[in-house]
């Protein structure tokens, strides 16, 4: 592809999802990330119990990520044809898993702040 700059990639993503939708998704991802950093900062440490639940949610996120891509396209798992396909597939699953883990961890921390959590122990 000619001139594959960051601007081109953004333009392509804006066209895939629509400009409004794309930037809302970016904003949502940014907000969750910031909220995650916020709870880390607030609690000064990772709460391992919450982290455990977050980890348990990872396979769900992985499956959801792959399911979303297959839903949006006319393709199925049978179509994976070469090593790069496996890598793309795993990358989608990993992205779903990590996104889900961050989301679950953040939601738990926002709902049940660290002090309460510790109190329950």
């Amino acid at each position: 592809m000619k001139d594959m700059t960051f601007g081109t990639i953004l333009a392509v993503f804006e066209e895939i999802f629509g400009t409004g939708m794309f930037w809302s998704m970016v904003a949502a991802a940014l907000i969750v990330t910031l909220a995650y950093l916020y709870v880390l900062m607030r609690d000064h440490s990772i709460a391992w119990r919450k982290f455990l639940l977050a980890q348990l949610s990872m396979p769900v996120g992985a499956v959801l990520g792959v399911w979303f891509v297959l839903l949006m396209t006319n393709s199925s798992l049978n179509d994976l044809g070469g090593p790069v396909d496996i890598i793309v597939f795993l990358a989608i699953a990993a992205a779903g898993a990590i996104g889900m883990a961050i989301l679950v961890y953040t939601i738990q921390s926002l709902i049940r702040p660290a002090a309460k959590d510790r109190g329950a122990q």
């Binding site: 081109t8 940014l30 949006m72 179509d79």
Partner: protein, 436 residues
């Protein structure tokens, strides 16, 4: 775990992401060049629209006029998906005016005459528009009349498909093709002897319908025949070999040196001109017709065509690197109409637009152009629903993969399918807006 961030660190992180987003949303623009130049662009399709969007940011004060009678803009690479029932007809349709920038004039008429000596273009209503620089980007015309016995009204009935003719016909093609995929019989897939846009499309249609027939469990009752006038299955030898092997695997029979000349719809019989003037009859239950393709009449009648090459097709005589007309230095060819050995794809247009833009800007500002078109042509060759080969090549028949070592061009891959289905239209749209 002592993983902590203070408030300042967090804020700078947030600011950093915002700056990144802002940097990406505006492409680097050099100062616009002031000019009074009158630029006329014939055709507001893929090439004309993309060029207009780029010129308005590069030039200040230029008078840019586009001519195009077509109200609808067609994303033509989507027609292959429509004709395989994978997308609805409106997937390819938008409005010409949706894509045009402010500050250009659209004359919704066809160019009927070009006078390269007096430097004007006359429209069908007789309006004369003078130019300093002219870009011809009217695409090509499909010569359906060249196939005796064939008429576009027949598409969709009696096993006749013709997906090139537009969204309505692509949808009708699916109607005929899906019936064949259910009932089986003899499928005959053709391509013309002339140059054509997206030379991979006849193969894609063959592969897709074969895959769909197989998927429905009806492959045993169907025969697949691919008939082409050329001596090989694709213009790039290494790709032709790969397609030959795929045809072998998929039990698709290739008939080379077979040029479709006529059909008899009642009898479901096709007539082919073979080597040395022979006529070959082939019966079919489903036939896919792609007619001969030529430059629009206005090009051929205005003396812009090659006098000694493609004489029955009339492509614009231009330098294959700069796309500038060889006899008139104020005229450039862009897109399908250009008389260059490769490049009749939207992907090629994406590479040609910066070249024509550079040629025009250089002419306006009196410097030598630097951008050269290398013949880049690309065709995501769909081999089944869910897989494709991302084939990219240049004038020299070299493969020029965009992702060397990552996406193998001659491998049937899911990622290449995802590119075709998800990223291609988005990239095309971004190109129309002058952003890709």
């Amino acid at each position: 775990m002592p993983f902590t961030l203070n408030r300042r660190q967090m804020l700078s992180l947030a600011a950093g992401s915002a700056a990144l987003a802002a940097a990406g949303s505006q492409t680097a623009t050099a100062a616009a060049i002031p000019t009074q130049a009158r630029i006329v662009i014939i055709g507001a399709g893929a090439g004309g629209t993309a060029l207009a969007n780029r010129l308005v940011t590069r030039l200040k004060g230029a008078q840019i006029t586009l001519m195009d009678p077509r109200v609808e803009h067609l994303y033509q690479p989507g027609l292959s998906l429509v004709a395989a029932g994978l997308k609805p007809a409106d997937y390819v349709v938008s409005k010409t005016t949706d894509w045009l920038p402010d500050g250009v004039t659209l004359i919704a008429e066809a160019a009927a005459e070009i006078d390269p000596e007096a430097k004007f273009v006359a429209t069908t209503s007789g309006q004369k528009v003078a130019y300093d620089f002219l870009v011809v980007a009217p695409g090509l015309v499909l010569d359906h009349d060249a196939i005796d016995g064939f008429d576009l009204n027949m598409v969709g009935e009696n096993g006749i498909g013709a997906l090139y003719a537009g969204p309505k016909y692509a949808a009708a093609t699916w109607k005929a093709a899906s019936k064949f995929a259910e009932e089986g019989g003899v499928g005959l897939f053709t391509r013309p002897a002339t140059e054509m846009k997206c030379a991979g499309a006849p193969l894609k249609h063959t592969f897709l319908i074969e895959d769909i027939t197989r998927d429905k469990g009806n492959r045993g009752k169907a025969e697949f025949h691919y008939a082409a006038p050329q001596g090989s299955l694709f213009g790039v030898p290494i790709v032709a070999e790969k397609v030959r092997m795929l045809f072998g695997d998929r039990d698709i029979n290739a008939h080379m040196k077979h040029t479709l000349t006529a059909i008899e719809p009642g009898a479901k019989r096709a007539y082919m001109a073979g080597a040395e003037g022979s006529t070959i009859e082939m019966d079919y239950d489903y036939i896919h017709v792609i007619p001969p393709q030529r430059a629009p009449d206005v090009i051929r009648q205005s003396g812009l065509s090659w006098p000694d090459k493609w004489t029955n097709q009339g492509w614009v005589e231009c330098d294959k690197g700069t796309l500038q007309h060889l006899r008139y230095d104020t005229i450039w060819a862009l897109g399908d109409v250009a008389g260059v050995p490769k490049g009749k794809t939207a992907a090629s247009v994406k590479w040609q637009v910066p070249v024509v833009e550079d040629g025009l800007i250089s002419a306006i500002s009196g410097r030598a152009p630097t951008e050269i078109y290398n013949g880049y042509t690309s065709c995501p060759m769909i081999t089944r629903v869910g897989r494709a080969m991302l084939i990219e090549f240049d004038y020299n028949n070299n493969l020029v993969p965009s992702f060397p070592g990552v996406i193998a061009p001659l491998e049937e891959l899911w990622i290449s399918w995802l590119m075709k289905e998800v990223a291609l239209k988005a990239t095309y749209n971004a190109m129309l807006r002058g952003r890709a």
